[in-house]
């Protein structure tokens, strides 16, 4: 029996258990999503969007799912703090796929809501009804899988004209002693002229094989802005399937930075829809791979209205047997005149066993636009290395310096100074091979 059939049976046999703790909206969407998953199954290598990432194989492991919500009771806060020095944050935790609120959070600005969808849906049914799964509905079958099994969704709501000065940090942790599959969900709603910074840290505290699917939906209202930083520091045994859907309205801004420091097998999909004039989006990514790591980033920026700007920068540093996949598409629709769009992808292959697949794409239906993309694959400049050695810098040190500078371009786009500094240190440590964990919390010490 293939694994798709196993998941279908798991779903059908445990329907009451899955539906139990969830609000009505979750179960309604689950119903629709499951129908699609049932017909489509997992994407294969013949699917143009999954040419180099065999995801069906990853699902074949005999994973356990926490359908009875047992890990909800574990105490995460005592053992795990994940500090970024000098960065004041409001914290939220996701243990496996359960949301755990931090009672120590200082008072949030008035009207801001952070919490579980199952509680918020009771108080604000319209808000949830309007937004949940409205962007992810069209996602591929891995998104439908997540919607079918998701029992929890973390919600961040920022009302009109509210600015959250401090960063909201959401720490997702895998803690288990069995092979586990988790389905995470996040919904961010930014009303008009609001502003927030969101830091998502993805950690794993288990050597057991694990798979986490995550779907994040973000709505950015007129004139609002959101900075989103995603940091993945998991282990070799972890598979991450991230899906991020963003919809931007008039004059809104979205800055995104996705950094894969350590991982096993990662696929990140980012889809940004520019649905209002004057919107701006900046998406950046940095991936550092070694051993057998596999990092696949796929992005789509959909320009639906005119006068929008999009910038994209993705960089890969691939060592040992690692594989990098980048596929970015800029879609400029007929009405999106006066679009300015720029996409850059640069990749360093450090060994002859590292593989890079790059696919930067432009799909343009409007004529009054300025669009360009560039992509390179190469290695460290021999002349620069020689120059540095001449001046007494050892070869290994010179290599690190160059790699560090190469990565710096992405990190420098981070607007939070404390986080930027922290990342510079983390990346440098990563190159020296000193980093398996961030050492920021009790867990890693």
């Amino acid at each position: 029996m293939d694994c798709v059939q196993e998941y279908i049976e798991l779903f059908e046999n445990n329907r009451t258990l899955i539906d139990g703790p969830c609000c009505k909206k979750l179960n309604e969407e689950r119903e629709k999503a499951f129908v699609r998953f049932k017909t489509e199954g997992f994407p294969g290598l013949k699917d143009e969007n999954w040419r180099h990432t065999n995801v069906a194989k990853k699902f074949a492991t005999n994973f356990g799912m926490d359908l009875g919500r047992k890990s909800a009771t574990s105490n995460i806060k005592g053992s795990f703090t994940c500090d970024v020095p000098n960065l004041k944050t409001y914290k939220g935790y996701v243990l496996n796929d359960n949301f755990v609120a931090d009672e120590n959070n200082r008072l949030l600005p008035e009207g801001v809501i952070i919490g579980s969808i199952n509680e918020i849906a009771a108080l604000h049914p319209e808000l949830i009804g309007k937004h949940y799964n409205s962007l992810a509905e069209k996602g591929d079958s891995t998104v439908q899988f997540n919607t079918s099994f998701a029992q929890e969704c973390m919600v961040l709501y920022v009302p009109k004209n509210v600015v959250i000065e401090e960063t909201v940090q959401i720490i997702a942790l895998l803690q288990t002693n069995v092979e586990i599959l988790t389905n995470r969900r996040l919904l961010v709603i930014m009303e008009e002229n609001s502003h927030a910074s969101l830091l998502l840290c993805d950690h794993s505290a288990t050597e057991r094989e694990s798979l986490s699917t995550s779907v994040t939906e973000i709505f950015i209202g007129r004139g609002a802005s959101l900075n989103l930083y995603e940091l993945e520091e998991t282990t070799d045994s972890n598979t991450r399937l991230g899906n991020l859907f963003v919809r931007q309205e008039h004059d809104s801004r979205f800055n995104h930075c996705n950094i894969t420091l350590t991982n096993g097998f990662t696929r990140n999909y980012v889809e940004v829809v520019l649905d209002g004039e004057g919107a701006e989006t900046n998406i950046n990514g940095l991936a550092i791979g070694d051993k057998m790591q596999h990092i696949d980033n796929r992005t789509l920026v959909d320009h639906r209205k005119g006068h929008c700007t999009s910038n994209e920068l993705y960089k890969y540093i691939l060592d040992e047997n690692s594989t990098g996949v980048f596929s970015g598409k800029m879609l400029i629709r007929t009405v999106a005149q006066q679009t300015v769009s720029q996409q850059t992808n640069r990749n360093l292959c450090l060994t002859s066993c590292a593989h890079m697949y790059a696919q930067p794409q432009l799909e343009i239906y409007a004529d009054d636009v300025k669009c360009s993309h560039g992509s390179t694959v190469g290695q460290l400049d021999e002349n620069a290395l020689f120059y540095m050695q001449q001046r007494g810098i050892p070869a290994e040190e010179a290599r690190h310096l160059l790699m560090y500078a190469f990565a710096g371009e992405v990190i420098d786009n981070i607007k939070l100074e404390a986080l930027r500094e922290r990342l510079h240190i983390l990346v440098e440590k990563r190159f020296r091979g000193e980093l398996n964990h961030c050492k920021g919390c009790n867990l890693c010490k």
């Binding site: 005149q337 292959c349 060994t351 002859s352 790059a358 930067p360 343009i364 004529d367 360009s372």
Partner: protein, 481 residues
């Protein structure tokens, strides 16, 4: 409205000057595709048993294949049983056992600017003229033979040089390669066969002119070029078809083998009938072109100017197998009205220190869609591979589309790969500047487009470059305002 349509029609008619039909008595076999038809084609061409078997294997494989849908094209369903796979305009003369060609045929080619009488021909160009499924005449054959160069039609080559044909046919493009390659292998008719022996530099340009004349037929030519060690050849290809309301299918294969230190330059000016201003009719051009740079230091250069065809699906490729081999691809693809093009190249780096250059210029006008799709693959052992790709798109009008889909698969850390692409329109300033100096808008656009495509046009042989320049301006007529 009707009047406006008439004007449009006039413009479209004017733009395609090769749209006439020649009244030549042509023998067309009944339409449909099955093993019997393939046996019939093979029998008509008096082919040896192995070639028939080659065709049948391909046909059986083709039946198992689905039509590819990955290209950024909207291809209406094609009824492969409604097409006739063999049309022979020479039949009449064969009956009279006379070698002379129907004067009407001669006239047709003269009208196309391809005189078949050697005394009239442009000096320095040998021509193989192919109409429908048959090669009409190959000029300067004797002169070339003196140097040991073989330049003849594929059917002739099968009869006279079976060993050479058998050795190389299908060795670069396998029948399993893709849907249209399998179809072509099953039903292919005439194309050119070129063999340049060791150390010979071909003294003239070799050229093939393809013409579709008969209705309800498809053209499935097959060209094979072998350049032995230290040789050089420049080969040109041109094509046209009459204006018809129904779509005609053209599915060709070009295979090129380049040995040690040899160089092949392959230039195409593709001007199949593109359909009228409403998108009716036109040729479906589904072509597989591939060169195998087997030898050390070999070089293959593709230059193409694509202005015709309703739908183009074409990726001339280089397999850089030999160490220090080089591949080049220069392309101008222009689409107007309802034309669709998905074209580009593949550079497969296998040998050490291989180099490839890709320059692609897309121009979209009217309601057309123009895509560049290219692959650069560097295999694990291809140390020191170097690639530079540049794909620019120019948009004329706000209803057309320009797309870029490059693929880079890199498996070697010694590779240096660069790709860049830009998309823009002709700037108002440039136009205003030309207008100011008394150059009309249409002419100015022709001027700017030619300047934009110059990098590629410069790579074409002289006569072709002039023709291509004219063609670019003509194809854009009516695209402005």
């Amino acid at each position: 409205m009707k009047k406006k349509n008439n004007i449009l029609k006039k413009l479209a008619n004017k733009a395609y000057e090769f749209g006439f039909v020649s009244k030549i008595k042509t023998e067309i076999i009944e339409s449909g595709l099955n093993e019997e038809i393939i046996r019939l084609i093979s029998k008509k061409k008096n082919e040896p048993e192995w070639l028939l078997e080659f065709r049948l294997t391909a046909y059986r494989h083709w039946q198992t294949m689905p039509m590819p849908t990955w290209a950024h094209l909207n291809i209406p369903p094609i009824d492969y049983q409604a097409i006739s796979y063999y049309a022979d305009p020479l039949k009449k003369n064969k009956e009279n056992s006379n070698k002379e060609i129907d004067p009407e045929l001669m006239k047709t080619f003269e009208k196309l600017g391809i005189p078949l009488e050697e005394r009239l021909a442009l000096s320095g160009t040998a021509v193989d003229a192919v109409m429908d499924s048959v090669s009409v005449k190959t000029t300067f054959k004797e002169e070339l033979k003196e140097k040991g160069i073989i330049f003849c039609s594929m059917s002739e080559a099968v009869q006279e040089y079976p060993d050479l044909v058998r050795k190389y046919l299908g060795s670069v493009v396998n029948y399993r390669d893709n849907f249209f390659a399998a179809l072509n292998t099953a039903v292919f008719s005439d194309g050119s066969f070129v063999y340049i022996p060791k150390g010979v530099r071909c003294p003239m340009e070799l050229s093939t002119y393809f013409r579709i004349n008969a209705a309800n037929t498809g053209q499935f030519e097959r060209t094979l070029i072998v350049a032995d060690d230290n040789s050089y050849v420049s080969y040109l290809e041109g094509c046209t078809a009459p204006m018809r309301d129904e779509n005609q299918l053209h599915a060709a294969i070009v295979e090129i083998i380049v040995n040690d230190n040899a160089e092949v330059k392959y230039s195409t000016v593709q001007n199949w009938y593109p359909g009228d201003a409403e998108g009716k009719g036109g040729v479906y051009n589904f072509v597989t072109k591939r060169g195998d740079c087997r030898g050390h230091g070999s070089k293959l250069s593709w230059t193409q100017v694509e202005t015709g065809s309703a739908i183009t699906w074409k990726y001339p490729s280089c397999i850089l197998r030999g160490d220090n081999s080089q591949g080049e691809f220069y392309s101008v693809a222009l689409t107007n009205n309802y034309q669709q093009a998905d074209t580009g190249t593949k550079m497969i780096h296998l040998g050490k220190n291989t180099k490839s250059t890709i320059i692609s210029k897309g121009i979209s006008a009217g309601k057309s869609q123009n895509s560049y799709r290219g692959l650069v693959r560097v295999s694990k052992n291809a140390d020191g591979a170097r690639n530079y790709s540049q794909c620019d798109s120019l948009l004329l009008g706000n209803e057309c589309g320009a797309h870029t889909f490059p693929y880079m698969d890199i498996h070697n850390n010694g590779a240096v790969i660069e790709h860049e692409a830009t998309t823009s329109k002709i700037s108002e300033e440039q136009l205003f500047y030309c207008n100011q100096r008394g150059i009309g808008t249409e002419e100015a656009i022709g001027l700017i487009v030619n300047g934009y495509a110059k990098e590629v046009l410069n790579k074409l042989p002289m006569e072709f470059a002039i023709e291509a320049q004219k063609l670019l301006s003509v194809s854009l007529e009516g695209a402005v305002g």
